[in-house]
């Protein structure tokens, strides 16, 4: 039995309705290696029940680019929760 790999640090940033739902502007988390963007969202939803109403329409950006739910995260990534945008 090999030991599990060490957890992987990621920086999470919350904006707008996600910020208010989480009650945070950001946090640093250690997550399992190989976690996807969608997996991280599920993890965050469990951790911050206030995010539930924000989940529909939420997109994820990694290092300032939108990514699909199945994108794998890497150590040191900055992951941003992007509710529906409304600039202009």
């Amino acid at each position: 039995m090999t030991p599990p790999p060490p957890p992987m640090p990621v920086e999470v940033r919350y904006f707008a309705a996600a910020r208010e739902g989480a009650g945070l502007t950001g946090e640093r988390l250690d997550v399992p290696v190989g976690l996807t963007a969608g997996g991280l969202l599920a993890l965050l939803a469990g951790r911050h029940p206030g995010l539930a109403p924000v989940l529909p329409g939420l997109r994820v950006a990694v290092n300032e680019r939108f990514v699909p739910a199945e994108a794998a995260l890497a150590a040191g990534d900055t992951v941003a929760l992007i509710p529906p945008v409304s600039g202009g």
């Binding site: 208010e20 109403p53 329409g57 739910a69 529906p84 945008v85 409304s86 600039g87 202009g88």
Partner: protein
């Protein structure tokens, strides 16, 4: 960020600011001797949306990503529409009714391209650039585009929604 037949200053310019936007400065960034058409668009805080009376708006941006996305959208739009210059300044923080939230200026040799380019840039900005507005009205507040926004005006995500 390569220019299309530009001379002089950088033909693309993007900024996020906290103070009132000076439209004449945005205009000055796009003027070019080869361009017979310059269009300046002001997105302004309206006194009401639907039946709601607006007290004020709060804008928030993910600044580095918003600037990068503006540049990417402008690149594509300038290429498609043959614009020679595009500048966009978006304001964040608290905005009162009548204030400009955004000013976009474009320059093109021809009118139709300039007007179509403005429309294309703003259409994509409203889907792809991480800026948000919270409307504070009599009796409540709502992030526009989210499920707690009773008036609709939903954004339509084009990227991946997990």
């Amino acid at each position: 960020m390569a220019g299309v037949g530009s001379t002089g200053a950088d033909p693309r310019s993007f900024e996020i600011v906290r103070a009132p936007i000076r439209a004449d400065a945005v205009l000055a960034r796009v003027r070019r001797p080869g361009c017979g058409a310059v269009v300046v668009f002001h997105g302004t805080v309206r006194a009401r949306t639907g039946t709601r009376r607006v007290r004020y708006l709060e804008y928030e941006a993910y600044e580095p990503m918003a600037l990068a996305q503006m540049a990417a959208v402008a690149d594509a739009v300038c290429r498609t529409h043959g614009l020679e210059a595009l500048a966009c300044v978006h304001r964040v923080g608290r905005l009162e009714v009548g204030e400009d939230a955004m000013v976009v200026a474009v320059a093109s040799p021809h009118r139709a391209a300039a007007l179509a380019g403005v429309e294309a840039f703003i259409g994509r900005l409203k889907r792809e650039v991480p800026i948000w507005k919270k409307e504070v009205f009599e009796g409540g507040a709502a992030w526009i585009g989210t499920p707690d926004d009773p008036q609709g005006e939903r954004s339509t995500p084009t990227g991946a929604a997990p």
